[in-house]
């Protein structure tokens, strides 16, 4: 296995090297921004995959109450719980949002960047005076993140962005799993601290992209189906699933119309009164 992987790794490293050199020499980007640009290009290539993922995730939220019931029912048997959940997906023609391929496609980039940054000076023949800084607070992207104070800032940004991105890309309704995903970055900080700062920069960029993508797709796709089921779940949980689904469709506009209609009227009246007085 190792014999196969090592040549692939060195090839990945050369590809990454050429990409970074192209950004640096052709577009005159500093090295740190070349990493950011590479990340953005990778994420742009993955857009069709992630957009589809976000759409099915929002579709999935409509079924959240029923799925929660299933999870409660098979609380003690995880195997059975998973199987029943999969059956539920199939019956309702749901496409589960999570999938391994988009994540796996990012792995080679990550590994290549790690190896490229590890021997940065010899890879790019940069002199000791080369500008490897990023936004004035990271002096050297090839150095360990904790070797300068700006690295701690970068790590803080990483934790925040990781939490935000896992909030947006949360694909499970399972509460413990959700909490686990949110808390995880706090532990990974200790591992990541030993990585070159450029790699953390890649991570932060890709996370911020995820957050931006999540915000945009949430705005573009109609907001109505997402928040409504959460309200319904507490009220209609004892009723049968089908009744809940029918009721939900009726309850949705009822709940939203008054809210949408009241707010602007109140504001207008207040404005008119103040202007007259």
């Amino acid at each position: 296995m190792m014999l196969f992987t090592i040549p692939i790794l060195s090839q990945l490293e050369t590809v990454m090297k050429h990409v970074l050199i192209w950004f640096h020499t052709s577009l005159h980007l500093p090295w740190a921004w070349a990493i950011v640009a590479t990340t953005v290009v990778v994420r742009m290539l993955l857009v069709p995959l992630t957009v589809k993922q976000i759409h099915s995730m929002q579709n999935l939220q409509r079924y959240a109450p029923q799925m929660k019931e299933l999870q409660k029912k098979y609380k003690h048997d995880r195997q059975k719980q998973n199987e029943e959940l999969m059956k539920f997906y199939r019956e309702n023609n749901i496409n589960p949002a999570a999938s391994c391929l988009p994540m796996l496609l990012q792995l080679p980039v990550f590994i290549a960047l790690y190896y490229t940054l590890r021997s940065f000076e010899s890879n790019f023949h940069v002199g000791p005076n080369a500008d490897l800084s990023f936004l004035h607070f990271v002096p050297d992207i090839s150095a360990h993140t904790t070797s300068f104070w700006g690295g701690y800032v970068l790590l803080f940004v990483y934790v925040a962005s990781q939490m935000a991105s896992s909030y947006f890309m949360m694909t499970t309704a399972d509460k413990t799993q959700r909490i686990l995903f949110m808390v995880m970055p706090l532990f990974f900080v200790f591992i990541i601290a030993h990585f070159p700062a450029g790699l953390v920069l890649y991570w932060v960029t890709t996370n911020l992209w995820t957050v931006g993508q999540g915000l945009i797709t949430r705005r573009l796709v109609a907001k109505t189906p997402a928040p409504a089921p959460e309200r319904r779940s507490s009220r209609t949980s004892p009723k049968p699933e089908t009744a809940a689904a029918i009721q939900g469709d009726g309850a949705q506009p009822r709940q939203e119309k008054p809210v949408a209609a009241q707010k602007p009227r109140q504001v207008r009246r207040k404005k008119k009164r103040t202007s007259r007085r």
Binding site: K52, N95, S99
Partner: protein, 76 residues
């Protein structure tokens, strides 16, 4: 003899565990299939050996994309 023959598949299983402890933990994702892709890979390698098991696991990973349906999909 059988112990020697099992070495390649054990290597494959070890490789999956290496992934689980490193990248699997760093990039948390949930799989749309049951058993999950990594569990599928372990079972496939155990049942069919390293070569055929790896091919099966690779094919499963390709199927685990946003356009597929997912669901219950055990190793055959």
């Amino acid at each position: 003899m059988s112990a020697v023959l099992r070495v390649p598949s054990l290597l494959g299983v070890g490789f999956v565990w290496l992934y689980r402890l490193t990248f699997g933990a760093l990039f948390p994702t949930t799989c749309k299939y049951h058993p999950s892709c990594s569990e599928y890979a372990v079972q496939a390698v155990r049942r069919h050996g390293l070569v055929r098991g790896s091919v099966l696991a690779g094919w499963r990973l390709l199927r685990c994309n946003p356009w597929s349906r997912g669901g219950f999909d055990p190793v055959r």
